[in-house]
């Protein structure tokens, strides 16, 4: 499992763009928003929580279609599936690698981009915490979507259609937590819901993803 994790991380770094690309995308999305809605500081502060969360979510989506596709094409997914390690564990490792290469950098970069959007000062801590709680769910839900579409030639667009509705609860609670913190209210309840979704997804979805991959490899 650790070997799979290491291998995926090395691939992400050496193939170029693993860490950087999602971050750059996040940055561009956040920079585009003031152009779209205008530079008034109050308006930006009002939409900053949602904009940051949607940006992080889209950046997460970006690298998902390569999660299993390259391994499927060169046959290493067959080897992983027949290896003594259960396929569910492989999916945990791959989702974790995806999280380390996208979710974690996004979480760390989010406060900096929050400054660009004039996010109120009380919300930075909650922003980081909510992203840290929520992005693992995004990775593991995305792994499920990628597992469903791995056998398709042009799965990328379909993948986003399948995965984005599944992201909705995480987005609602995550953005709500930051929004409440920005408005000076307590954010504990939505944060706990985000954690609930993450833990639930971690517990259930790798099994569904493994089942989907077994079907696709048949």
């Amino acid at each position: 499992m650790i070997a799979v994790l290491k291998r995926d991380l090395q691939l992400a770094i050496r193939a170029g763009g693993g860490f950087g690309l999602a971050l750059a995308f996040f940055l561009i999305v956040v920079v585009l928003i003031p152009f779209g809605v205008g530079p008034e500081r109050e308006v930006l502060a009002r939409i900053a929580p949602g904009a940051l969360w949607v940006g992080a979510l889209l950046a997460c989506l970006l690298s998902l279609d390569r999660l299993f596709a390259t391994d499927f094409e060169d046959g290493s997914l067959d080897l992983l599936a027949t290896a003594p390690l259960p396929l569910e564990a492989v999916i945990y490792a791959k989702a974790l690698a995806h999280w380390i290469s996208t979710g974690l950098p996004l979480t760390l970069a989010a406060p900096v981009l929050g400054i660009l959007l004039n996010l109120p000062g009380e919300a930075y801590m909650v922003l980081v915490v909510s992203l840290a709680f929520g992005t693992p769910a995004l990775s593991v839900i995305g792994a499920f979507g990628a597992a469903l579409t791995v056998g398709l030639k042009r799965g990328g667009l379909l993948l986003s259609i399948l995965v984005l509705p599944l992201y909705m609860p995480t987005l609602i609670f995550g953005a709500d937590a930051v929004g409440r913190a920005a408005a000076g209210q307590g954010a504990t309840t939505p944060l706990m819901f985000v954690a609930l979704i993450t833990l639930g997804s971690l517990a259930v979805l790798p099994f569904a993803a493994a089942a989907a991959i077994r079907v696709n490899l048949r």
């Binding site: 579409t149 056998g151 799965g155 399948l162 609602i172």
Partner: protein
């Protein structure tokens, strides 16, 4: 005679061949009767005026939109557990019908909301969860049409349906948390004290029955064409082999 006999496609075809005509006739009778009764022979509501009559389309279609997904969930489970092809095909057949019902509920709601709430659309929990349900239908149908091998497609869409159900329910309650509602509460519950008045309730009941029958008829019809399509493919493959 057990339920599983319907899993045999030939048996299914012969039984539905006899059933489908009467179901269509009954559905038409209920819908025509219920809608005419509802539209022309019920009084106007004292606050909503004649717009109240859209209830005869809105409520049944909304009910079927949810129940179609529930039916897909059950048939997906049957396919995953017992691998009866008719079950998978029924799920495939129900999805577009359910999607149209969802659209219809959203559309009639918008038409009603414009004069009543003064807006076509409001980010109300119920409206939003129906929009999300529509997106789930979209993804499900897109996945069916993207995969060529029928067994793989049936397996993957069933898995998606199971996971999607969990997330659809989750979204349903998440949006409650997210925004306050404008939509009125349930007024047709069997256990509630205050419900819609009987004048509206009886024609609505007929319309509900009509929508259920229409759904059954459409799903049966679509399942039958899917089975026929599968047979044609089988014959073609056999001829190519020979």
């Amino acid at each position: 005679m057990s339920l599983w006999e319907f899993a045999n496609p030939r048996k299914f075809m012969s039984i539905t061949d006899r059933v489908i005509g009467p179901v269509f006739v009954l559905a038409t009778a209920c819908l025509v009767g219920g809608l005419i009764w509802g539209f022309f022979f019920t009084p106007d509501d004292f606050r909503q005026g004649s717009t109240v009559k859209i209830i005869y389309l809105h409520v049944p279609s909304a009910m079927m939109a949810i129940n179609a997904w529930a039916m897909m969930l059950v048939t997906s489970l049957i396919w995953l557990i017992r691998r009866h092809h008719v079950s998978a095909l029924a799920a495939k057949a129900a999805a577009p019908v359910g999607m149209v019902m969802t659209l219809m509920a959203l559309f009639t709601g918008a038409v009603w909301g414009q004069p009543m709430w003064g807006t076509w659309w409001e980010w109300d929990p119920r409206l939003t969860s129906f929009l999300i349900l529509f997106l789930f239908y979209l993804g499900y149908i897109a996945l069916w049409s993207a995969i060529e091998d029928p067994e793989t497609a049936a397996d993957l869409t069933s898995i998606l349906c199971l996971v999607g159900s969990i997330f659809a329910i989750l979204s349903r309650y998440a949006v409650l948390f997210w925004n306050q509602g404008l939509h009125q509460g349930a007024s047709l519950s069997l256990d509630a004290e205050e419900n819609v008045a009987d004048v509206f309730w009886f024609p609505l009941l007929v319309c509900l029955a009509g929508f259920v029958l229409l759904f059954v008829a459409l799903v049966l019809q679509r399942t039958r064409s899917e089975i026929r399509l599968r047979r044609v493919h089988a014959i073609e493959t056999r001829e190519r082999m020979a």
